[in-house]
């Protein structure tokens, strides 16, 4: 039983790590823009597809293709924000939310129009899992994923605490009006947020595509679970969301020991609703 628990926990950490990368960007947007950006999921898909084009069509090295994919995605993310979200900001969060739903449909349509519905996959070698005490625990790919997730946490922490723009971001996150009053250049921070968040989404999308496949629904299937992780950690709390994502991953994968696998996603939502009942602002929110 203990080994099973250990195995599932490791699976959960991997799940959570990808989720974490996907959720950080979402949460950054929420903390500064105060709306649920549903279209964030589609940026995962864009990241995966752009990387796929360079890696498989043009035959570039995965790392280089990935970097280009991240760059393109962040530009796309910024362009969408500039063109579609920022003009709507004065109408309030609900209108922005619906705009982002519209954007989701648009992006999904465009991607499927260009790429078609068929699924594709990266050509990465498949290696046996690393065994610990005879049980297959984790693969090299997954170690890379966890490392990237942890690395990105550290990196983000450094950016938020050591750089000027990071500090300004935190100020803006805590109070937009006050930040403006203190002469912080909110336009610059917005740009930083959109680029950084989109880049993180691209990274998540690429890693997700590596372990699953490249398909037009890649991001759409993730967005609800991203929302759940963000709520669980506490909307508007970047660090809370990180823990929320990992926790959600672990709970989902450990949960299926006790529940049918058909309820794997439902476990995540159930956890979210229970947490909301007990602590309406999420585990780490509202302090």
């Amino acid at each position: 039983m203990l080994t099973i628990l250990l195995q599932h926990t490791v699976f959960g950490i991997v799940t959570g790590s990808i989720l974490l990368l996907a959720t950080i960007g979402f949460s950054m947007i929420y903390t500064t823009k105060r709306f649920l950006c549903i279209s964030h999921g589609e940026l995962l898909t864009i990241g995966a597809y752009t990387t796929y084009i360079f890696h498989v069509f043009l035959g570039w090295n995965l790392l280089y293709s990935g970097v280009i994919g991240v760059v393109i995605t962040s530009l796309v993310g910024l362009a969408i924000a500039r063109g579609l979200y920022e003009p709507m900001e004065r109408h309030g969060p609900l209108v922005l939310l619906f705009t982002s739903v519209g954007v989701t449909f648009c992006l999904h349509g465009i991607l499927e129009f260009i790429a078609g519905p068929s699924i594709r996959s990266f050509r990465t070698p498949i290696l046996p899992s690393i065994r610990v005490g005879g049980i297959p625990l984790i693969t090299m790919n997954e170690i890379v994923i966890i490392s990237i997730a942890m690395g990105s946490i550290v990196f983000l922490h450094v950016v938020l605490t050591r750089t000027r723009i990071g500090k300004a971001f935190r100020a803006m996150a805590s109070n937009v009006d006050l930040a403006m009053a203190r002469g912080i250049d909110t336009a610059r921070i917005s740009m930083f947020v959109w680029i950084y968040a989109s880049a993180m989404a691209a990274v998540a999308g690429i890693l997700l595509a590596l372990v699953t496949s490249v398909n037009p629904d890649l991001g759409w299937t993730q967005i609800l679970i991203i929302l759940a992780a963000a709520i669980l950690g506490g909307l508007g709390s970047i660090y809370g969301v990180m823990i929320g994502a990992i926790l959600l991953g672990v709970v989902m994968d450990v949960g299926v020991i006790f529940f049918p696998s058909g309820y794997r996603a439902a476990i995540a939502f159930a956890l979210m609703i229970i947490v909301l009942l007990v602590k309406p602002k999420g585990i780490f929110g509202g302090e």
Binding site: F35, L36, L84, P87, M88, H91, P93, L94, V95, L97, F98, T99, V101, G102, V103, T104, F105, C106, L107, H108, G109, I110, L111, E112, F113, G116, P117, P216, L224, L227, A228, A230, I231, L235, P260, G262, Y263, A265, A266, F269, A270, M272, I273, L276, L277, P280, K281
Partner: protein, 311 residues
């Protein structure tokens, strides 16, 4: 061309009518009260399933489901909307008091969880097989072609009743109160209005409309399966409402007709293997773009909210 326009339109308008009732419910939730329910399809599904389960004959031994109450169809329809309302109450209790964003996410998640339940709880829902070959109201009394027109008549009657009920609710002091809650919660609190209860009532009434529409939809399709109730349906109601005009019941009707009829006429584009997939993705794109455009340049919709005057 010799096509049977009358029969074709009978089907199309029946469908549009069901969508009207469905969207009217969203209008009371969002258009009047400002509740952004992203899981609206869940109540549609509950209405459809509950009405069917209530009016199914008791199951025999060779089927997976064990429930079936054999009630008359009309009782099933009432039961369907009541069930939808009951679930709205359950969802409303934890979510209506906390912030808007949480409400959005929880309702969205609820609609997905519900679909898992519909798939997994075979004893109740017969799993992915669902219920099929459902009888249609008064189906015995009419034959083929005539029935389609009779069904249209039934739907038109249902739409008129639904519209009148909705109009009565929205033109009453309760309608004013819902608008007050939408426009400014603190002011309503300062006036001694229990906004939580107002939201709850609007949420439940809206869900009941969705449930009623769902019970009609089950009779239109003659089957219910979990795959019918995807988030796309929520989006359809939203889009119709936004196009037609939120906060305006006539707008909801107009939006549905525009949406459903436009959708029907895409059928006249001959599909081909090379373009069907492209066409399908184009549809998604157009719908998304339409939502963005309406929000940006026509935020009130085609029919603006009516100004209320008193004499």
């Amino acid at each position: 061309m010799g096509g049977d326009w009358a029969l074709f339109l009978a089907g199309a308008v029946s469908l549009a009518g069901i969508y009207v009732i469905y969207t009217l419910g969203l209008n009371i939730q969002f258009g009047f009260t400002g509740l952004a329910n992203l899981g609206y399809v869940a109540f549609f599904a509950i209405g459809a399933y509950a009405s069917v389960i209530l009016s199914m004959p008791r199951p025999g031994p060779d089927v997976a489901y064990i429930v079936g109450y054999g009630l008359p169809m009309w009782a099933g329809m009432i039961g369907g909307s009541l069930a939808a309302g009951f679930f709205a109450l359950l969802i409303g209790i934890p979510t209506l008091k906390i912030g808007e964003d949480y409400f959005v996410v929880v309702t969205f998640a609820f609609s997905e969880v519900l679909r898992y339940v519909l798939i997994n709880e075979k004893w109740l829902t017969n799993g992915t097989t669902g219920f099929y070959g459902l009888e249609r109201p008064f189906g015995k009394f009419f034959s083929g072609r005539n029935y389609e027109f009779f069904f249209l008549f039934l739907i038109v009657v249902a739409v008129i009743i639904a519209y009148l009920v909705m109009r009565k609710i929205c033109n009453s002091p309760f309608g004013r109160l819902m608008k007050g809650v939408r426009e400014n919660e603190p002011v309503c609190l300062a006036l001694g209005k229990n906004i939580y209860r107002v939201k709850m009532k609007a949420f439940i009434v809206g869900a009941m409309f969705a449930g009623f529409a769902g019970s009609l939809y089950a009779r239109y399709t003659t089957l219910v399966v979990p795959e019918m109730f995807i988030p796309y349906f929520t989006f359809v109601a939203w889009l119709s409402l936004m196009i037609g005009g939120r906060g305006n019941n006539k707008g909801a009707i107009l939006g549905c007709f525009i949406f459903v009829l436009a959708d029907q006429f895409t059928l006249f584009v001959q599909a081909s293997a090379a373009y069907a997939v492209r066409l399908a993705s184009l549809r998604a794109f157009i719908m998304g773009a339409l939502l963005i455009i309406v929000l940006r340049w026509l935020p009130a919709g085609i029919l603006k909210e009516k100004k209320v005057t008193y004499r």
